[in-house]
């Protein structure tokens, strides 16, 4: 138990350091944007007819704390970020945490649901594909996987839009029906969300499924040929029982480990799919923040949150793996 606690603590520390490095990269990027908040505020005032001098900008910088050294500002930002406070967006002039709020959680829920969908298809199908010698099945699965890799999600989303508009006369866009968009959360709103969210989940799950299918198949094919499987077969085990109890347990370890990278991939595709389907969650907010208004505070906060959820997932899967597999927690501690 003590050993396990030490393992968990070490992993948590590593996750924390990773987040620190990430926050440094993100913050430096935000700083690289030409123009800071002081200039933004005052250029707005200028449009209202107030004359602005360089001294005004300088004093505004002092007021906002922008004259402090880079490291100080970064540490303030990081401290806030870990508590979920990202300050104000100086273009929209609202608190970023309020603005993101549920939008971020909806994005995360969509991304994770698409991963769940992907693996609930990929694991059984991948295992069957690896254990069967049916050439037709294997080849068709191979083509489906390659299509999933070659057809980026946004092209798939476009194609679905095309078919839906031409043949069904529906656009299938958005996350909420008009009457629920600004309503408070209720059961009815939740049901409405589910009615709209299946399409983005399906689209995002599509290439994740293709990827996962290939991984599961490759890992299973490696394990199935090993001696312990033959030994189990010799003891009279067969069929699903054999597959689940022996090779699958070993093959699924690396898969659990790669969940974090899968989430990374889904996040990569989320903004573009969100744009096509006109979803109103964090992904499309990011596009708004970047493409339309160059709002670096908002963009930085979103990227940080996305990365933080990946790091958290990585941490959780590490712990899960250690619970499942004693070899792993021993190897780290040595």
């Amino acid at each position: 138990m003590l050993q396990f606690g030490r393992f968990a603590l070490m992993r948590a520390a590593m996750a924390f350091v990773t987040l620190l490095i990430v926050s440094f990269v993100v913050f430096s990027l935000m700083e690289m944007v030409p123009g800071d908040c002081a200039e933004r505020y005052l250029s707005y005032k200028q449009t209202q007819g107030v004359a602005i001098s360089m001294a005004d900008i300088q004093s505004e910088r002092v007021r906002l704390g922008l004259d402090r050294p880079f490291i100080t500002r970064w540490s303030t930002w990081v401290m806030g970020a870990f508590q979920g406070d990202f300050g104000d967006s100086c273009i929209l002039r609202v608190n970023i945490a309020d603005l993101l709020g549920t939008k971020f959680w909806i994005s995360l829920a969509i991304a994770i649901s698409s991963l769940v969908l992907a693996y609930s298809i990929a694991i059984p199908v991948g295992i069957i594909a690896a254990s069967s010698r049916n050439a037709v099945l294997n080849n068709s699965l191979r083509i489906v996987s390659y299509l999933g890799l070659a057809m980026p999600n946004f092209l798939l989303a476009l194609m679905i839009m095309l078919v839906a508009t031409v043949y069904f006369g529906e656009t299938l866009t958005g996350l909420f029906s008009a009457e629920y968009r600004d309503a408070a959360w209720s059961w009815a709103k939740f049901v409405d969300l589910l009615k709209h969210a299946w399409l983005p989940i399906l689209i995002l799950g599509w290439s994740a499924t293709a990827f996962a299918l290939q991984t599961v198949r490759a890992l299973m094919s490696d394990e199935i040929g090993k001696l312990y499987v033959t030994a189990a077969k010799a003891r009279g085990l067969y069929g699903a029982k054999l597959l689940w109890r022996y090779p699958a347990r070993h093959a699924l370890g690396p898969i659990v480990n790669s969940l974090g990278f899968d989430l990374n991939r889904v996040f990569n595709e989320l903004p573009i799919v969100a744009l096509i389907l006109t979803l109103s969650e964090a992904g499309s907010l990011l596009i708004d923040a970047l493409a339309k208004s160059n709002d670096q505070q908002l963009a930085g906060a979103i990227i940080f949150l996305l990365t933080a959820s990946i790091v958290t997932l990585n941490f959780l899967t590490d712990i899960l793996l250690a619970i499942m597999d004693p070899r792993i927690r021993k190897s780290i501690l040595r």
Binding site: I21, P152, L155, L158, M159, T165, V166, A291, A299
Partner: protein, 380 residues
């Protein structure tokens, strides 16, 4: 058995044992049917891309627009119509009408009495083949100047989608190659240093690399691309995007280089080189890198389609390349409009070429990976 066949058998064996690494890889690659077909498709698409200016009948920019055929449907050359057949393919003239019936949208009515014959090697707009040879002969076109041929239709500005597609393929190939090259150089330097020196430097570099890898690349790239000033020229944007693609592509390759170097650097031949007084860069370059060139080539081929797709995605959302440059992303920018979805589906034709290009790259990459792995036969 005659002595001659025995001799030739021996020669076969001899050539097998003395074959170079690349000959062995090629021999294994040839055995994979899917990869060979994909390689054929790939070569075909690359040739099309390189010869784009000569193969496409018109200038893909606004200079080559067809004023009388905006949002025009694809025109497929035919040999026969109600007025009889001809050996030379032709298209019909069109008349544009609009009325309350069509919701005041321009609709083309083919006029079957007017024929425009397709000609080969026609003279048209000037261009530089391979960027150096000035030419004005295009593979095909229509006789005369009063009518233009649009195999894939035209877009809202009247630009020929066929010509744009060919040029877009070339743009994607260029940007992919450049991005791959940049990430390759970065990966070699960072992975090389990390793997060769090992120890604490290696741990620090690995920690930073891992941290950078957890940041979702596209949102990160979006935030970098958004900072590109709008007044930049298209060439500047092009190089900026290529650099960004290279910057996000390096970690995977760098890791591979490092892992390999970590195992190789303790081999005797490295020690021998060190004892001869060779410098570290010299050993990395001349002794260590050649030991896994084939793996690097495979990795580069595999990472290529992702570069192309990332560029497409970025341009699609308006943060990548911009209009005068043709790329798939630029061409797809307007297709989400209901108007396009309902009425102008030929905007989607280029997608087929790109899925083919990416698929071909993925298949060739997989085939190469299997071929470069000396144990792949034993595994199966």
């Amino acid at each position: 058995m005659s002595s001659k066949t025995i001799k030739s058998l021996q020669a076969d064996k001899e050539s097998y044992f003395t074959a170079s690494q690349s000959q062995l890889i090629w021999a294994r690659f040839k055995k994979q049917r899917a990869a060979m077909i994909a390689a054929g498709v790939l070569v075909f698409i690359i040739v099309i891309g390189i010869l784009a200016p000569a193969l496409s009948p018109y200038d893909p920019t606004i200079a080559g627009r067809d004023r009388d055929y905006l949002n025009g449907a694809p025109q497929i050359p035919q040999f026969c119509d109600k007025n009889g057949c001809s050996l030379r393919p032709f298209i019909h003239g069109v008349e544009r009408t609009r009325s309350a019936e069509t919701n005041f949208r321009w609709v083309e009515e083919p006029n079957e009495d007017i024929r425009y014959y397709v000609e080969f090697f026609v003279e048209g707009s000037e261009f530089d083949l391979f960027g150096i040879i000035p030419m004005d002969t295009h593979l095909f076109g229509l006789e005369g100047d009063e009518k233009m041929l649009h195999l894939f239709g035209t877009d809202s500005a009247g630009k020929d989608i066929f010509s744009r597609t060919l040029h877009a393929i070339f743009t994607s190939l260029q940007i992919g190659s450049l991005g791959v090259l940049i990430s390759f150089v970065l990966a070699l330097i960072i992975g090389g240093v990390s793997g060769y020196y090992g120890g604490r430097l290696d741990s620090i570099i690995q920690m930073v690399t891992d941290a950078v890898r957890t940041i979702p690349a596209i949102p990160l790239v979006m935030s970098v691309a958004a900072f590109v000033p709008t007044e930049w020229t298209s060439e500047q944007r092009f190089f900026m995007i290529a650099i960004i693609l290279g910057l996000i592509g390096w970690p995977t390759l760098a890791r591979r280089v490092r892992t390999h170097l970590l195992t190789e650097r303790n081999q005797e031949y490295v020690l021998a080189a060190q004892l001869c007084g060779a410098s570290a860069p010299h050993i990395i370059r001349r002794h260590l890198l050649p030991s896994f060139t084939s793996y690097i080539i495979v990795d580069l081929v595999i990472s290529f389609p992702y570069m192309v797709l990332t560029e497409t995605g970025l341009s699609f959302i308006g943060l990548g390349l911009k209009d005068p440059v043709n790329s798939l992303g630029v061409m797809l920018q307007n297709v989400t409009k209901a108007d396009v979805l309902l009425n102008y589906q030929w905007y989607f034709i280029p997608v087929i070429f790109f899925v083919a290009l990416v698929m071909a790259f993925v298949f060739v990459g997989d085939g190469l990976r299997d071929a470069a792995d000396p144990y792949s036969d034993a595994k199966k």
